[in-house]
Subunit: 232 residues, 2 copies
Amino acid sequence: MTEQPAQTTTAGDPATARGEQTRQLIRDTAMRLFRERGYAQTTMRAIAQEAGVAVGNAYYYFGSKDHLIQEFYAQSQVEHRAAAQPVLDREEAFGPRLAGVLHAGIDVLTPSHGFAATFFKTAAEPTSPLSPFSAESSGPRQAAIDLFGEVLTGSTATVDAELRPQLPELLWLAYMGVILYWVHDRSPGQTKTRQLIDGAVPLVDRLVTLSRLRVLRPVTRQVLDLIRTLRH
Amino acid sequence: MTEQPAQTTTAGDPATARGEQTRQLIRDTAMRLFRERGYAQTTMRAIAQEAGVAVGNAYYYFGSKDHLIQEFYAQSQVEHRAAAQPVLDREEAFGPRLAGVLHAGIDVLTPSHGFAATFFKTAAEPTSPLSPFSAESSGPRQAAIDLFGEVLTGSTATVDAELRPQLPELLWLAYMGVILYWVHDRSPGQTKTRQLIDGAVPLVDRLVTLSRLRVLRPVTRQVLDLIRTLRH
DNA sequence: CGCCCTTCTTGAACGTGTTCAACTACCGAC
DNA sequence: GTCGGTAGTTGAACACGTTCAAGAAGGGCG
């Protein structure tokens, strides 16, 4: 099952080199322990021991304990994409598509609610490479934004031409807001978050539709100008 | 300068007891070092040493390093209230009052942008008592919400009767959003955050005014119902 | 086979936040 | 004044994340 050795092995990239198995072993062990015990309660020593390697070995593959979180990020994004596929195949109207994709995201995260809540603290730090806004997370982030692009592309909705290119990112931002709420959601099974989605989506839907009205054109433009200004 | 000893000293309350001076000394030292070196770079040992006390003594007054942040919270809130007073005295229209109060908040925080950004990570953790949504922060939070209540009370604006009671908290929530943006704002002097305030306030103003229109009544109610549902 | 170089692995050591058993300072009661 | 109890204070000890010098494993090349 070993891959052919890459001809040009870039120096700082362990991903294609020998230790790929070890890397995955450590990652999977960490994810399991995070789920079982929570993030703070899982020590690097415990991860190393359970994986049968030395502590320093974990640091060879992952720069810090926080960097293991980024693995979780990426993995969740992939699962989200997969879970959203049926919705994108089935639904045609904008509202149901958006709601479905949002629900799919929460579906994927639900088993990890306990520890994911804890780790989002790290994600909130602006200086951290783990921030969803950081350059280091741009991969998963762009994938997520593209997912919301697909929500639009495949839908029957007609959107204001100026709003259109900004909308995927705005929807992703709204999704971040949903997650922020979800993280703080103490209701059993995070029912409230579901209500948030079901309640907010029709509003967003209406808003997007209304944005085309001539009367609201100035407001639409004003909002879009503001957003463009604020973008980094 | 010593206060009269409180007659009924509640057991778990060091605030009114002898060590009040020490408490303040540690707090002030911590705040100074946080500003000088940043949060992560300031060790508890350094705080203790600079304050001339033992490490354990700091833990007698503050449960953890994070709890020192809550002091910063409370202090900032008081300063915010003071800085907002001139605006509340001067302005009468809703828009300028809101903008002024928001700017005042950022004014107060600006000198601490470097380290405040770092510490907001801790605030984002839902399980932490430091979260602005937590019960333990309810004091400063309520004070902040009341401040936005004053923005409304003193203004000439007429607000939808059903929206009115919810509005202060919603404005506070918007303020939290501004702070979240500010924390990530890398523009020199955080100019972008100022633009966000100046750009968003007119929109909020218009939205609040429009909420009274008969045509929009259903939407207003829909939004308010959703908010009421989502409240904890 | 022997050599060299890169990749991978190790675990002791460091600095950190935090805890805690022991100690001291103070104050009211008798 | 002495006693007793609470408030305040101490610093060594602990567990954790992280670093790093040292070594092992592997593979290409003569």
